[in-house]
């Protein structure tokens, strides 16, 4: 009975379908803007749509001229061919997949733990060196990883990590972007929450584990997504030589480089490589946007 009542009440207060228009907006301007947006969205999406549809085309349609944007008789032949080719390679498909999943998983997990531990104290405690350290981290976001590649290689070589998974995993732990986003998001947490826990007798570790971490789940997701994107697309070709330790993306792009005979499979590779980051992004979009709201760089 009470449920029914609730429902009727909700219905009465439902939002109107057509919102009241804002002042300062002309209808012509709005229509023009929407048309413009649709056009741009089409231009942006076209290469991706084309890549997906050419992965679905049978071989004779791939070379058809003039081309059709959408496949006439869509098949999954290209994908099955791809798996046949991968199956025939010296290192099996499952091994490549394992390499990528292992690197991605361990790298992301470690990055999440290490970066959020650092971000926690940077955001919530006052200690000498705090501001300086964070400033150095922000500066390090200002140059690309290519700048540090050569000394990095020599360092990894001295540590004996060249040609092992650790050459990719350990540097990924220290990615400045994750720490930055996490710290900015944690600053939004009320300090009183932490103080209350402290008065109840929790030490720093306890506060971190059972108060702070459960409250920053959106930031977790964002860190995970950025880290997964980076590691999934990492070809690792500079640091790893042994074929059996190379990543899936590397192997797939080798197939793609196989020339005209592999056109169909190459198109399938494009789709396989891009589908994972895009899918993850679609599923976690709202959490990412929640975190990015606090991403601003204040000075």
């Amino acid at each position: 009975m009470s449920k029914k009542n609730k429902k009727t009440v909700e219905k009465e207060y439902r939002k109107p379908l057509v919102k009241k228009r804002k002042p300062n907006r002309s209808i012509a301007g709005d229509i023009f803007l929407y048309l413009f947006l649709v056009f741009v969205a089409f231009v942006m999406a076209f290469p991706i749509i084309y890549a997906v549809s050419s992965a679905l085309k049978p071989l004779d349609e791939l070379f058809k001229f003039p081309p059709k944007i959408f496949a006439q008789n869509p098949t999954l032949d290209n994908f099955s061919d791809l798996f046949v080719t991968m199956g025939k390679s010296w290192v099996t498909f499952s091994r490549y997949l394992f390499n990528t999943v292992f690197i991605t998983f361990v790298g992301t997990a470690g990055h999440l733990i290490v970066a959020s531990m650092g971000a926690f104290v940077l955001a919530k405690y006052e200690f000498p060196g705090n501001a300086l350290f964070f400033r150095i981290v922000t500066v390090s976001m200002m140059f690309t990883g290519y700048v540090t590649q050569i000394p990095n290689y020599m360092l990894l070589n001295k540590l004996g990590w060249i040609d092992s998974y650790w050459a990719i995993i350990i540097p990924a732990f220290a990615s400045p972007m994750g720490l930055f986003l996490m710290k900015q998001f944690m600053e939004g947490l009320p300090t009183s929450l932490i103080e209350a826990a402290k008065i109840d007798g929790a030490n720093e570790w306890k506060v971190f584990r059972s108060i702070v971490m459960p409250n920053v789940k959106p930031a977790w997701m964002t860190l995970i997504i950025f880290s997964v994107q980076g590691l999934w697309n990492n070809k690792a070709a500079t640091y790893i030589y042994s074929e059996e330790k190379k990543t899936l993306v590397y192997a797939l792009q080798q197939i793609q480089a196989g020339g005209i005979a592999r056109t169909g499979q190459g198109a399938a590779v494009l789709v396989v490589v891009m589908i994972v980051p895009i899918a993850i992004f679609i599923f976690s979009e709202s959490q990412i946007l929640e975190t990015m709201a606090s991403s601003g760089l204040k000075d």
Partner: protein, 312 residues
């Protein structure tokens, strides 16, 4: 000089002792920060310093580094005309795609901000997807294929604009512009997400107050309310777009080849790869890296001081 240091020490003694006491009291904080700090120092701080150090030496990994002074820089600027080409190309790409991509990111974030919620989330995916689509940009090599069956060539020939197919990725006149188009296509990245989220977070009552105070159209609203509120995000987006604009190499290497015809698509990073990982002249490559580093940091500082004036 000694006296100066002595005076400085006396004056700062108290500050240092206070800081030391504070540091002692917050030992746990350092423990928490330590894992990240150590890794960060190893893989981000040390390499920059080492790179600056090696840039003054001749070093080929096999022999011990030999000190050269400024020789590397002198030969880079005075003798290596390919390096000058690469600087020119990088700057062209950065000047063109950096600001334009940045403005595009903001513009589209701003335009989709007023759409209904579900349309907005679809739009964010559509605009953001190219920048995370792996190496999807190689699809452009199909569009711009060099023979008469390349789609762009065929299209232009049908219209009668050109009478012979253009070798888009081999002819130096067309290489850079096409690469710029591809980079622009991919330029709605992390900064774009930050803008979208930031625009959502602006307090709605500020707009209402603005209407009361007589803001006439959406442009005034943008300049007087939206932009000042977005300043931190604008800074963040600028950092992101400068970093990507100067680090271009994947796109040019995949589309125009490595090395490209007449070095017309060579960027600084490509030059760095060439000397670092093909010729193993690490000292020389480190000099290139140092120049790139300085360019990026200086550019970032300049842009930041410019952005501080926005909306005031």
């Amino acid at each position: 000089m000694k006296e100066f240091f002595h005076k400085y020490w006396v004056m700062r003694k108290f500050d240092i002792s206070v800081a030391w006491k504070k540091a002692k009291r917050s030992k746990n904080c350092y423990l928490f920060l330590a894992p990240y700090a150590i890794l960060f120092a190893m893989f981000f701080v040390y390499p920059v310093i080492a790179s600056i150090f090696y840039s003054f030496t001749y070093y080929n990994i096999l022999e011990a580094p030999r000190f050269l002074g400024l020789q590397n820089y002198i030969s880079l600027i005075l003798e290596d005309d390919i390096f000058l080409t690469s600087i020119k190309n990088t700057l062209m790409i950065a000047i063109f795609t950096g600001p334009l991509g940045y403005i595009m990111s903001f513009l589209f974030a701003w335009l989709i901000n007023e759409l209904p919620r579900w349309v907005r989330s679809v739009a964010v995916v559509v605009f953001y997807a190219p920048s995370i689509a792996g190496n999807c940009y190689v699809i452009f090599s199909v569009f711009f294929r060099g023979d008469a069956y390349g789609y762009v060539n065929a299209f232009l020939q049908n219209l009668g604009i050109i009478d012979a197919p253009i070798l888009w990725f081999i002819n130096p006149t067309y290489m850079l512009p096409i690469c710029m188009v591809v980079i622009l296509w991919m330029s709605l990245g992390t900064g774009f997400l930050s803008f979208v989220a930031g625009l959502q977070g602006i307090d709605k009552s500020q707009y209402e107050a603005g209407y009361m105070d007589g803001i006439k159209n959406r442009w005034q609203e943008l300049w007087y309310i939206t932009l000042p509120n977005m300043k931190p995000m604008l800074m963040f987006g600028a950092v992101m777009s400068i970093t990507t604009a100067f680090g271009v190499c994947d796109v040019t290497m995949a589309l125009c080849g490595y090395p490209s015809t007449d070095y017309a698509a060579r960027t600084i990073v490509t030059h760095l790869f060439d000397y670092g990982f093909s010729r193993f002249e690490m000292g020389y490559a480190c000099a290139i890296a140092t120049i790139l580093f300085l360019m990026m940091i200086l550019c970032n500082k300049a842009i930041q001081s410019l952005l501080r004036r926005v909306g005031t």
